[in-house]
């Protein structure tokens, strides 16, 4: 097992302008700055059902009081104008008449009663004909919306039940009288009176959903079974609209724009392109083994059931190797193997078959690493999910209060996030390498490979430490000094890896312009 010191020195390979201490200091400053900035500029809000309910209530209260209308009227108005009280007021004062018409609110002067009115006219004891069931009933069993068109209670009930069970259209339900022409809305008050308990619950659910679904700035979290909604505050001006990254309180991270899993650092179009490419190649990539491979030394099949790529074969072989490139670990170490080395020579004219082979090799290089990181991310999510129980054990084994073990959870969250970024960075790499291969230049790719390699190597250390070294403390003996070392190592790895990934994402966001402007990048330019 390598000592923490050895591990530490590796992070700054290539960072020749800094000493260890300065590097750490610099990255710490960077991290604090960054978290301050992101807290202030967080461009979205997570909403629970209670939040939505409260906001709807507040909006209704304000519309009621400003316009002196009933709660039913306020609800109809707000539903029509995307639940924005401001828009309601603006439209209302611009043209009350057309707003009333749009939502089915009759003018007060025509009929002072908005909503339901139990019919009281029809002086005599004459029965009244219901124009739906064509049955006669005493006048008091009739109801009507504000327009006064009367139908019997039973017909109203089935009318409302059918509408609610037909879907969200019930929120714009109108009087059923054909000559009424939809002039009078059937709103909250009548629903409250004439719908069953279960249907009222459904109606309220539609109202709640309409708050999210009828506004372009709100969406439900796409994670299955998650009940949170996200409100996106569109980035103002200078931000070139790129920060679509949203993390829900359920811990699912997704892209606001396309609602796919977060795919920093590639954009939505690239993601689509990549998915299409994978579908097209699926017959050719079936043979790629993501989870099982033969041991490069003894040939026994090895199933990968861990997240990090440093794999050891079972005894007696015990051969350690890198899962991705199969190289002996004693040679490979934490050097990255992310770069793709083109094989064909450029000097002679290649046959079409050779070109196809070359393209395919390039694709599989990136595809395999993309898929492998997805698997590692999935595994890490599982581990994160059962971390609470693990910490319980760790707390016992090392006599540490559980409160002090939060750094382990932080580490795992960082691993999940970084695996995802790393995964998508391979898609970036694929298209970058394609671009450079086609235009026969080699300018940005080396910088990309360097930054990605740094990030990947940091992540492999972090993942190994959180996965395998942690186990030794959970199931091993209590050793305070070793544990303190472990803690500082894991914390440091978490922080440093986070920074490497921010660097990577930042550089890709700028289209690796560092190379563009300098023309040649001192450390990286290769010929």
């Amino acid at each position: 097992m390598e000592s923490p010191e050895q591990g530490h020195l590796q992070y700054i390979s290539g960072g020749d302008e800094y000493t260890d201490e300065e590097e750490i200091k610099r990255q710490e400053d960077f991290a604090t700055e960054k978290s301050k900035a992101s807290a202030a500029n967080k461009n979205y809000t997570i909403l629970t059902e209670e939040d939505i309910f409260r906001r709807q209530g507040d909006a209704m209260a304000s519309v009621c009081s400003v316009l002196s209308v009933s709660k039913t009227a306020a609800c109809l108005l707000l539903h029509r104008y995307n639940w924005s009280a401001n828009v309601v007021l603006e439209k209302w004062f611009a043209s009350e008449e057309s707003v009333r018409k749009a939502v089915g609110l009759l003018p007060e002067s025509t009929n002072p009663v908005i909503g339901m009115s139990r019919s009281s006219s029809s002086s005599s004891f004459d029965e009244v004909l219901c124009r739906i069931c064509f049955e006669n009933f005493p006048p008091e069993s009739f109801y009507s919306a504000a327009c006064g068109h009367r139908f019997c209670e039973s017909c109203w009930k089935s009318y409302i039940r059918t509408a609610i069970n037909d879907g969200a259209g019930c929120l714009t339900l109108r009087c059923p009288e054909t000559s009424c022409g939809g002039a009078a809305a059937v709103g909250l008050d009548m629903i409250g009176l004439l719908a069953s308990r279960e249907d009222r619950r459904k109606y309220n659910q539609f109202l709640l959903r309409s708050y999210v679904e009828e506004n372009r700035n709100r969406k439900w979290c796409p994670s299955p079974g998650c009940a949170f909604a996200v409100e996106y505050h569109s980035a103002g001006g200078d931000d070139d609209g790129d920060d679509y990254n949203v993390t829900c309180n359920c811990s699912h991270s997704f892209c606001w724009n396309c609602t796919e899993e977060s795919h920093r650092p590639v954009d939505c179009e690239t993601l689509e392109k990549w998915k299409t490419k994978n579908d097209a190649e699926s017959n050719n990539t079936q043979w790629i083994r993501i989870n099982t491979k033969p041991c490069p030394q003894c040939n026994r099949p090895i199933e990968k059931n861990q997240g990090c790529n440093r794999i050891a074969c079972l005894p007696p072989c015990k051969f350690q190797f890198c899962w991705l490139c199969l190289q002996n670990w004693s040679v490979h170490g934490y050097n990255s193997c992310n770069g793709y080395k083109s094989t064909t020579e450029k000097l002679r004219i290649a046959t079409e078959e050779e070109i196809n082979r070359k393209h395919f090799n390039r694709y599989t290089h990136f595809y395999e690493r993309w898929a492998s990181n997805e698997n590692s991310k999935k595994k890490a999510l599982l581990d994160l999910g059962r971390m609470d129980g693990q910490l319980e054990k760790l707390s016992e084994a090392q006599s540490q209060p559980k409160l002090m073990l939060d750094f382990v959870v932080e580490a795992w969250k960082q691993i999940v996030e970084c695996r995802r970024i790393l995964k998508w960075s391979y898609v970036y790499g694929y298209y970058l390498s394609e671009e450079e291969e086609e235009s026969d230049v080699n300018v940005k790719l080396p910088l990309f490979v360097y930054l990605q390699g740094q990030a990947e190597s940091g992540l492999e250390r972090l993942h190994h430490c959180a996965e395998q070294e942690l186990e030794q403390f959970i199931y091993g003996e209590c050793n305070f000094e070793k544990f303190v070392d472990f803690r500082s190592k894991l914390k440091r790895l978490t922080r440093v890896t986070g920074n490497y990934f921010e660097n990577l994402v930042g550089a890709l966001k700028n289209g690796l312009s560092e190379v563009d402007s300098n023309g040649d990048h001192k450390r990286l330019r290769r010929r």
Binding site: I132, C133, F134, S158, T162, E177, T178
Partner: protein
């Protein structure tokens, strides 16, 4: 089921009484099945359908009148909102604008109104819709009149 049967029975009785009242519509209930009706409607005057008699077939669902009946033309008709082969009708009240206060009788009236005022923007018969949209009213009318003569008028001996 019981409610729809009761309601249809009321309509049946109403139709018997109103037969004289609306000479343009003749609604008949199937002898053995109260959920199947046919109607004969007169083509409205001052339209290419004038002088024709058109047969409609009604199929009433069990959830009637909460759900609309299915109606189609049995007589061939050249009209932008009627499918030329199947006789299917595109009319909002037979779909999302349905209300239980409509009756089979008033649906017939709505179909007569549709014959007089076609809506070329939601065509089921594209040829006919295209003629109207292109502003070729004459072309539309002569085609429609031809089909009225061919399909909707009693053959003279």
């Amino acid at each position: 089921m019981q409610a729809s049967r009761a309601r249809l029975f009321k309509e049946y009785k109403e139709v018997q009484r109103e037969k004289v009242a609306d000479p343009d519509i003749q609604l008949v209930c199937d002898d053995s099945n109260i959920f199947k009706w046919t109607a004969l409607i007169k083509g409205p005057s001052e339209t290419p359908f004038e002088g024709g008699v058109f047969q409609l077939a009604f199929s009433v669902p069990e959830q009637y009148p909460l759900q609309p009946p299915q109606v189609r033309f049995l007589t061939k008709i050249f009209h932008p909102n009627v499918h030329f082969k199947t006789g299917e009708i595109c009319l909002d009240i037979l779909k999302n604008a349905w209300s239980p206060a409509w009756t089979l009788q008033s649906v017939c009236r709505a179909i007569i109104a549709l014959m007089a005022h076609p809506e070329p923007d939601s065509p089921l018969n594209c040829d006919s819709g295209n003629l109207l949209r292109a502003g070729d009213v004459r072309g539309y009318q002569s085609m429609a009149r031809m089909y009225t003569r061919l399909a909707a008028m009693p053959k003279k001996g």
